[in-house]
Symmetry: C2
Subunit: 308 residues, 2 copies
């Protein structure tokens, strides 16, 4: 799957991922109204609204991009009905040949991590049969519990040729509270980065490992160091756009050949129609606004990488 | 809710929680066969089997215990159908007046943590209405992303009078890989413990905070230190029984008055019928075996606390 991700990035010449993190407030009123007319102001209605919203954005952008990253929390907030919309979104993106990174940030001890891994990346045995639950291509994983929390994910990935992005240095303002604490003079995130490199050796694709890392665009200096510590890890970079990361900050996350990282934007793309720059499209044509925002993001990153 | 948990612990004189973490392999064959006869060897069949398994264990133990802790991963592995069984289990336990600790170990940045908090502990707005998604009483939270990942959970808890248990020192063998790293000569888990105490000040119950901590029974010495660092935090202690923690190890997690902690056992209770000590009950009567295992666990902990 890491090879597929690489190929798709090279084919689209776009190292970006669209974060499908729909808040109900992002969904234009005509879509909400239609969903509520059919299902009422219910969890089912909300789920239908975010699914229709996603579908339009996918239809308008899938040919430009290699991958999507649905954030499961935004679906889970609507309970079972929301999670059905998550599953529909994953399946639909895969039918469009997009690589799907499930932003699930799970992590637990041994057998429990194994259950998450099976549910999201593998197959669960039921009597004589086996089934894939959510079936994403990649998943994000929280490393706080250490190796025996991460290993079960790696094992399932090996079997299924799928991959992980492990949280190393997250994009949020207080990520430093624990991640930046100095251990023998070096921040904790560097230790986690070393572990990611080590876990990744066990499961290599052609040029990159199946085990990647999450490093926030909002911390470019740390990205520079981590790029060196984890030379074979693909870096998933959140925090571009709405969170403040800019194209020029991103060059450090890439290798000199312009590969090795993929940059996520969520709000900046899916709610583009709400920004002044894209207001001309109007709420009805929110999908076209998203497409224009994707094109602008690709241009920004290409130009930053060209100037590197 | 922390007051309710306290009251229930005092009423039952049993500071224990039963971990409802069903593996399909724990479910006796007569239950599996019945579920598969109705739904086939499908995800729905698996979900029905674990739900019927849970129900019997709850029916046979609810009068002895204050709380349950369903581990969502064990349900999530069966996709949407499994999560429906999780929801049914949560609802059923609440109908039996048990305090429900959702072992979800979620954690993300600001708005995403808010979505998890709303989905598990609060209510989500849909048009003019609001709905509870999973509606547990407490949830476990991963602190790796720092304060701005935890605060949204605290905010929802304040509104809903619900609570959290934050991972401080987990019970698994490799928990020390990051959690034990020394920061200025002190292990990281102590820093996390200090933050838990600080976050907890914002949301106090009568004698304990709504913001508790997870500290593994397998690390009693660390428990002793953390008990002092977080005097007002209730400590949820996993790792008793199957993972190796014993009654005598547990005294350090409690205050001198025998309060302030709640000990979890999962496999040791729900799969008790598979142990030699309870084999006499037979597979058919697995619920009675679980009841006997609960009684033995309560006796073990009472005797350890009495000798303290």
């Amino acid at each position: 799957m890491i090879n597929k991700l690489m190929n798709k990035i090279q084919k689209t010449n776009a190292p970006i991922v669209v974060g499908l993190d729909p808040m109900l407030s992002y969904v234009p009123s005509h879509i909400q109204q239609k969903a509520f007319a059919e299902y009422g102001e219910t969890l089912e209605g909300a789920a239908e609204a975010i699914w229709q919203f996603n579908k339009e954005i996918i239809d308008k952008t899938y040919d430009l991009i290699p991958a999507v990253k649905p954030q499961i929390a935004m679906y889970e907030q609507f309970g079972i009905e929301g999670l059905k919309a998550y599953q529909k979104t994953v399946d639909y993106c895969k039918s469009k040949d997009l690589v799907v990174i499930g932003d699930i940030k799970r992590g637990d001890i041994g057998s429990t991590s194994a259950a998450y891994a099976v549910g999201h990346l593998g197959k669960v045995q039921v009597g004589s049969k086996s089934y894939a639950g959510f079936d994403e291509d990649f998943a994000t994983v929280n490393p706080y519990l250490g190796s025996d929390g991460v290993k079960p994910f790696v094992d399932v990935c090996k079997e299924e040729k799928k991959g992980l992005f492990i949280l190393v240095k997250t994009s949020n303002p207080s990520s430093g509270e624990f991640q930046d604490q100095l251990v023998d003079g070096r921040p904790l995130y560097e230790l986690v980065g070393e572990k990611v490199a080590q876990w990744g050796e066990e499961h290599m694709g052609d040029s990159y490992s199946y085990i990647g890392a999450v490093v926030g665009a909002t911390y470019p200096e740390q990205g520079k160091v981590l790029r060196k510590i984890m030379p074979k890890a693909f870096i998933l970079v959140p925090g571009y756009g709405a969170q403040g990361g800019k194209g020029k900050d991103l060059v450090h996350f890439f290798h000199k050949d312009g590969l090795g990282a993929i940059v996520n934007s969520s709000r900046g793309i899916i709610a583009a129609y709400k920004q002044e720059a894209y207001a001309k499209f109007g709420e009805e044509n929110f999908g076209d606004a998203s497409r224009a925002a994707v094109e602008a993001m690709i241009a920004d990153i290409r130009s930053a990488l060209a100037g590197n």
